[in-house]
Amino acid sequence: MALVSLHDVTAGYGGAPILHGVNISIEASDVGVIVGPNGAGKSTALKSIFGLLKVSEGSIVFDGDDITNRSPDSLVPKGLSFVPQEHNVFTSLSVSENLEMGAFTRTDDFADTMTEVYDMFPDLKLKRHQRAGELSGGQRQMVAMGRALMSRPKLLLLDEPSAGLSPRYMMEIFAQVARINQTGVGVLMVEQNARQALGFATKGFVLANGSNLFTGTGQDLLNDPDVAKSFLGGHQP
């Protein structure tokens, strides 16, 4: 059974719809990657899952439950976490306070999870008392991912986790995403570095103008000449 699936979702920000009958479905074992041109509605698709905008048609099912138009604070305890594309850390809070906020909905002891996050991103442990706003872009991205992991999600939604990062940081973030996935957490992420992301994705979705253009495994999309030509910056030999 799919961990999350969007069925013919039409959604928007109050005006004309941005998504027109989008279908996306991944399993807990998957790393799903959404690619597409700017303004295609990739971020909008993630936000619609997380209840941040109104779904007018279609439905979203997570872990067997219909979660269409549920509020974000009710989704976090259900096992959903979201790292937005921008402004994804509390800049005036320390690194450890950022992580703590990710665990806000938990009533049990979350010290273990915090240790796991610090093991995953040793840089953060060194800077745990520093304000998140003083960190580099890559470190902030780690804080944002760490915060999202603190609620121990079943599904992690990541909006362009590698945006603006150097290749070194990008590869590190992708390696951590793969590792998180291996612990049984489903990942659905939007990426601009499409070639690298599709390289380790088990499912790929190409969105354009708010509709599905292609769907397949990561390799399928990489090998598809049309996708390569339009979205991957030329076919690689």
Binding site: F50, L52, P72, D73, L75, V76, P77, F82, P84, H87, N88, V89, F90, T91, S92, L93, E97, E100, M101, G102, F104, T105, R147, S151
Partner: protein, 334 residues
Amino acid sequence: MNELIFFINKVLISGAILGSIYALGAVGVTLIFGILRFAHFAHGDMMTLGAFVSYILVTLLVAMGVTAPIPLGILVLPVAMAIAAVIALGIDKGFYAPLRARGSKPVVLLIASIGVTLMIQGLIRLFAGVGTRSFFDAEAKDIFRIDMSWLGATRDISITEPQIWMIGLTVVAVILLHIFLTGTRLGKAMRAMADNMDLALVSGINTALVVRVTWVIAGSLACLAGTMLALDVTLKPDLAFNIVLPIFAAAIVGGLGQSYGAIAGGYLVGFAETLAVFNWSAVLRPLNDVLPAGWSLPQNLALVPTEYKLTVAFVILVVVLLVRPTGIFRGAST
């Protein structure tokens, strides 16, 4: 020596009292702004209302013949602050929450809070009349005098018992607020929500709970500040409405949304106002001896006449905004 003591009495003590009251009011204003993004204009009247709650409780105690070693106005504070917190929650639920639920803009909430101001003042006048009342009809206001004759002075440093309480309680309130904001999950969530509302929602922070806690803190601190003010001067329906502007100046100077900034801003504005209306002639009087014959200092050497005290807050506000547009502590700019 007498000049120094005059200075301590008129500037240090008065400034600390005024600063404490401004600081406690400004913290409430800044917390509400940080969480709800609107300027709560009715904050002064919540202070006045809190003072009236304390006054009613004191009247009840006096009627019951209760006496205490501390001023009754101080004794009733815990209960009065709890009642004021409930009133603040009620005001939010009745007037501001419905507007927020409808997605109203901050300016609509500001206007609504002006409505709340008029309503509170009207209700107070309706039930309590327009007269002036004192907390010290039934008991005496103790004045402590510190003998300074060992320094060759003939004047005493004098401070009233409520004034000592005020300074002490403000320190306690600030420390407790600090512990709450940095040491508890809810306090951190409050800072998180003021920092980034969208991310707070996404993190699953219970924003409705944070909003309620904000009103509880703002309402109870307003009651504390209002009661202090009424203990220091007298209680009247427009008690704190008159100081809502310096309180906003303090919050803005400190950087809107910044609690520590609001406290610093409160004392800055409080001391600046006190210094500006201080009659320097009294302190500089010894100079008369060394001035050439026929010269003497004028009787009044205050920088600003007392009636224009309010302008001081605005001068500070304008200067700070020109030099550091987001306030001393870099607050929100919206």
